[in-house]
Symmetry: C2
Subunit: 321 residues, 2 copies
């Protein structure tokens, strides 16, 4: 019931409905300064420090098949990121939650990528205590860091050799940020080397993460994922929970780069795409070069979890949406 083929078939049916929709927010909606606008018309002040210094934090929950998934986990993390950066979300939790639900409902989007960005506001960080932080919200059709057709056979990645991940001592990766200079360099290197996904080392021989996704190595039935220098992913958390239900242990630890080349299976995971198998690394097959059996079971468990009332709730779409 949650095989790749079935999950994607359901998604494709809903996509076809969305594409036929005449809802003005069907291609996305943004909330800026309290107003809803179609996403491609949304504008922010050029003077926002979120643009002029990337002085912001953000988070990305998702909606799947009309259900908000782990919304509170994402809001908790956003709150924690804001506290570390001395930012304050300008809406209280209930209003924020309800605004997001309303946006999704009004858009009619059944599978959504939802982005919340909190910026320093119009004043420079040094003007401490005199600034009002800004909030921007976006709801758009679900984004695939790895498209469905690629997930069927697995993606192609490289371990970057021209760029390392920004270390936690410079920028704390547990504070979700949009300072993606290292990831951008990674993608450019991956493209140059005929691959798509960049996996960044930490400069000390360990792997970290890629642009928005955690990395999980599977070897001898055990999952390993970096404990340090990475985002504490909500999708990663779900993967660990799903694996545990399958009787599989996950170790959070340093993961030497070399372990990627001897892995049985390799996957990357993020809210925008879910559990994404990698079947080629540096031009060579990972394990047998096909989506592995444990990856497949975790994949199915991941999408099944989206219907678990512990983790998700149904959105009440108006009939007109």
């Amino acid at each position: 019931m949650y095989s790749m083929e079935e999950v994607f078939a359901g998604y494709n049916r809903r996509q076809a409905t969305l594409k036929a929709s005449s809802n003005r927010y069907a291609e996305g909606v943004a909330w800026v300064a309290g107003e809803l606008v179609p996403l491609d018309e949304a504008r922010i002040p050029i003077l926002d420090q979120g643009f002029l210094r990337s002085d912001l934090t953000y988070d990305v929950p998702s909606v799947w098949d009309g259900r908000f998934f782990r919304l509170d986990d994402h809001l908790d993390r956003l709150q924690a990121s804001c506290e570390k950066m001395r930012l304050r979300i300008p809406l209280d939790r209930n209003t924020l939650r309800q605004t997001l639900i309303d946006m999704v409902a009004k858009s009619g989007i059944r599978d959504a990528y939802v982005e919340l960005i909190v910026t320093r506001g119009l004043k420079f960080v040094r003007e401490y205590q005199s600034y009002e932080n800004n909030l921007y919200l976006m709801v758009m059709p679900y984004v695939w860091a790895m498209p469905p057709q690629v997930q069927l056979t697995g993606g192609s990645a490289v371990v970057t050799r021209t760029v390392r991940r920004t270390p936690p001592g410079a920028m704390d990766p547990t504070v979700k940020n949009l300072q993606w200079g290292d990831f951008v360099r990674g993608w450019i290197e991956a493209m140059d080397r005929g691959a798509v996904y960049a996996l960044l080392p930490d400069g000390d021989g360990n792997i970290t993460e890629g642009g928005g996704y955690n990395i999980v190595v599977i070897k001898d039935g055990v999952l390993r994922t970096p404990s340090r220098g990475v985002l504490e992913g909500v999708t990663r958390k779900t993967v660990i929970e799903v694996a545990a239900k399958l009787g599989l242990e996950t170790l959070l630890d340093f993961v030497p780069v070399d372990d990627l080349y001897t892995a049985d299976e390799l996957l990357i995971c993020t809210t925008a795409g879910g559990v994404m198998p990698l079947t080629e690394l540096d031009g060579r097959p990972v394990g047998g070069g096909q989506v592995g059996p444990l990856t497949r079971r975790i994949w199915e468990g991941y999408w099944k979890a989206h219907y678990d009332p512990k983790h998700s709730f149904e959105i009440d779409y108006p009939a007109s949406a």
Copy 2:
């Protein structure tokens, strides 16, 4: 003729004129998608990757007393940054140059901070070859990273102990970028410790730079400034040239953090503020705790250089501006 008192007096006179101006661009003007708008009304698409991934580069030339200063040095550096990031400035060099000059002339601003930002555009970096890069231009009244009244006696800095500079292996600091997460952490630490300026170490015992400024250590009549892990500052270049004219040598090398504590004089430098003396470090006086004699001579030479036709040219303001 170029003493602090004289230079600031001239600036204050021009400021008074600007403040009395009824020019609609007197507080700043932006160029967005080919249109000029007052700066505080300027907006950019929320979907610009310059906001959503800080996928951009930028540069900041300045105008002083009605003269553009080292504009071509800044345009050269911007061009080099774009090439490293595979970005293309959407205007040719002459049009870009002329647009900036027109903006300054129309604003009537005689002392200006001028910012050029080139972003990836609306499409994600992975969609290589299908995107159009975006350009944003801003002209605003001169920005002081250290206000004149503070320059008279010198600023107070800390060497950060909670944050290190992002290493070149993660993000190349010679590509001027707005990913200031490490600097923001530095400023917060500086504020918490009762200082203003944060000087970031490289994590290996050497000093690098602060948010937008290079660091110069003066000891026994010799200037030293980091060669690695820092922006190749245009102001730093001018400082080196001015020092050479004064018969002072500048060494570009690793600069151990410890050397800051035994310096005779310490300065930071950037286009937004020029040569800025630091007279307190970690709560203790630098050298004699006053603006030092060599800093003062370099300071005067720096502002004098703004009238050198080799480095600057006069802007032709319309009578109405």
